[in-house]
């Protein structure tokens, strides 16, 4: 009865749910992380830490920082989601008894 054609009502597969959720939540976390990090540190000051001659602009610094956080967060939540979803079922049964 549900209006299936309406995309909002369509059921997503478990894998699709997991992938999109991981991407989205890590995106939000990375946004917060980037904000806090670059409020404390100026990318122009930081670039000298790695390499004296490295002279990237602020724009590129912000972008690099953001993607670094995004990848890191996605890895963390991705691996977590994977482990939770592939945990051996028997364990759960055993614990419950």
């Amino acid at each position: 009865m549900v209006s299936e054609e309406y995309r909002g009502a369509k059921q997503w597969s478990r894998d699709k749910q997991a992938v999109f959720t991981v991407v989205w939540i890590s995106f939000l976390s990375a946004a917060i992380g980037t904000m806090v990090f670059f409020a404390l540190f100026d990318p122009v000051d930081l670039s000298g830490v790695f390499d004296e001659d490295l002279d990237i602009g602020r724009d590129a610094g912000y972008a690099a920082g953001f993607f670094f956080f995004w990848v890191l967060c996605a890895l963390a939540s991705g691996v977590t989601a994977y482990l939770v979803r592939t945990a051996p079922k028997r364990d759960a049964k055993h614990r419950d008894q």
Partner: protein
């Protein structure tokens, strides 16, 4: 559908696409969409004092908010502001449920506008279903093409506006017209535009169902006095089809004619009659749908309505309850604290950076010298002159600057200075204080500590 029903006058309406139903709440949500999105697209174009009124100038590391300029040093304000916003959401959720989801969330408002574009180009739900099933034809291509054209243009404009909060939008506009937008600006514009396109065009309420943390957490903030959208079971059951002329009360039927319209309009595909479900984003489409049926049947409106669990069970709703007081008090304290501290902040910021390359220098005449760079930030809206001094070691003095420095409105001045003291007084690691004082106001001063290094005694 499990029960045939005789009220054939609703047949034609059954093929209705979500939100096409119209009604009070639909109008309200259209209004909210227009106001909120209107603000989003308009705000960057407003100027204040010769510059963009709202500009998060990341390249220059300062935020302009109308008359206020915030620096990275003001980050605590931003952090507190974010906490206030989060708490407000709690407060509001406990009070009014997911009103935010139904009317204010960016996900909802952009989805709404993308649906409008879809309807302009592809027509109503049934027309679209037909179109999707039909083989490719000129008509189909034209309709689908113009939808994509509208969606993509609108997304690009959205991305452009987003970037316009971070780079002066008027200059950006000129660059854009000259097809000369470059580098990261272009990248972020496309990025945001693409995200809008995907989220509002394709993912829609699946974002709410699967990806939104707020959607899963909100039930923890609910209680029996929270405003929710609910079906009045006492009134509606037993449900069933009937002719309009039948006295349903005498026939033992409730007010629900089981037309399924509330289910069909629901963008998340749930049946509100099964009770409160976490998928429900409180869009109120089912209220509009049900009200339209009640009108046709000459029953009173509100079989599905905004209510509270307590009200549904005839218990009376309490708005003022401990939870509201707790959230409210914390919120008030935070807001008061933030405003007073912002109102009384000194409009000068001083950063002292010690020269990293040398510990100290010995000068002829047994003088020890340390080098620093002072960053003096003038947060005022006019240029100011400051006197710089140092204290903390006997006989310490500054060399290499004139007595005063002048800093332009809202800008940073780097002042290299050398502090000198006699070696008898300077040994080991000592703490010194730099003071920057506005010459036009005795009280406008900041003091910042730093280290002064000398030879080991």
């Amino acid at each position: 559908m499990n029960k045939p029903h005789s009220a054939s006058m609703y047949e034609s309406e059954k093929k209705i696409y979500p939100r096409e139903i119209g009604g009070r709440f639909d109008n309200l949500s259209k209004l909210a969409t227009i106001i909120l999105l209107g603000l989003f697209y308009a705000v960057p174009w407003f100027n204040w004092d010769e510059r963009q009124a709202v500009l998060f100038d990341l390249p220059a590391r300062k935020f302009h908010l109308i008359g206020l300029t915030l620096w990275p040093q003001d980050f605590p304000y931003l952090a507190v502001l974010l906490i206030i916003l989060a708490l407000s959401l709690f407060f509001f959720t406990a009070l009014a449920g997911r009103l935010w989801c139904g009317f204010a969330c960016p996900q909802t408002v952009w989805t709404e506008i993308f649906i409008w574009m879809e309807q302009w180009t592809e027509g109503t739900r049934s027309q679209r279903m037909k179109l999707d099933k039909a083989p490719w034809s000129w008509n189909k291509l034209r309709r689908k093409g113009s939808k994509q054209f509208l969606w993509i243009t609108f997304s690009m404009w959205t991305g452009f506006t987003f970037v316009g909060y971070f780079t002066p939008i008027r200059e950006l506009g000129a660059e854009f017209l000259a097809l000369n937008v470059g580098g990261w600006t272009l990248f972020w514009g496309l990025f945001y535009g693409f995200a809008t396109y995907g989220n509002a065009g394709y993912m829609r309420e699946q974002v709410c169902k699967y990806m939104c943390p707020y959607a899963r957490f909100q039930s923890a903030m609910f209680d029996k006095d929270t405003l929710i959208i609910s079906y009045d079971e006492q009134r509606g059951e037993p449900r069933g089809g009937r002719k309009r002329s039948v006295d349903h009360k005498a026939a033992g039927l409730g007010d629900c004619i089981d037309c399924q319209l509330c289910v069909q309009v629901c963008p998340t595909g749930i049946d509100i009659r099964e009770g409160l479900q976490y998928e429900c984003i409180a869009c109120a489409a089912c209220i509009d749908a049900c009200d339209s049926i009640m009108d046709k049947m000459d029953y009173p409106r509100g079989l599905v309505r905004y209510t509270t669990e307590n009200a549904l069970h005839n218990k009376g709703t309490r708005v003022l309850r401990p939870r509201m007081f707790i959230y409210g008090t914390i919120l008030l304290i935070l807001i008061a604290g933030l405003t007073t501290s912002m109102a009384t902040r000194t409009p000068i910021i001083l950063d002292v950076i010690r020269d990293r390359n040398a510990l100290y220098r010995e000068l002829p005449g047994d003088i020890i010298e340390n080098a620093y760079t002072l960053k003096v930030i003038n947060q005022n809206n006019r240029a100011r002159t400051f006197a710089i001094s140092v204290a903390g070691v006997e006989g310490i003095s500054l060399d290499g600057i004139s007595d005063t420095v002048t800093v332009d409105a809202g800008s940073v001045l780097s002042v290299p200075v050398r502090a000198r003291a006699h070696r008898d007084n300077a040994y080991g690691i000592m703490t010194i204080q730099f003071t920057v004082k506005a010459t036009d106001d005795e009280d406008a001063a900041v003091i910042e500590n730093s280290r002064f290094l000398g030879p080991t005694p």
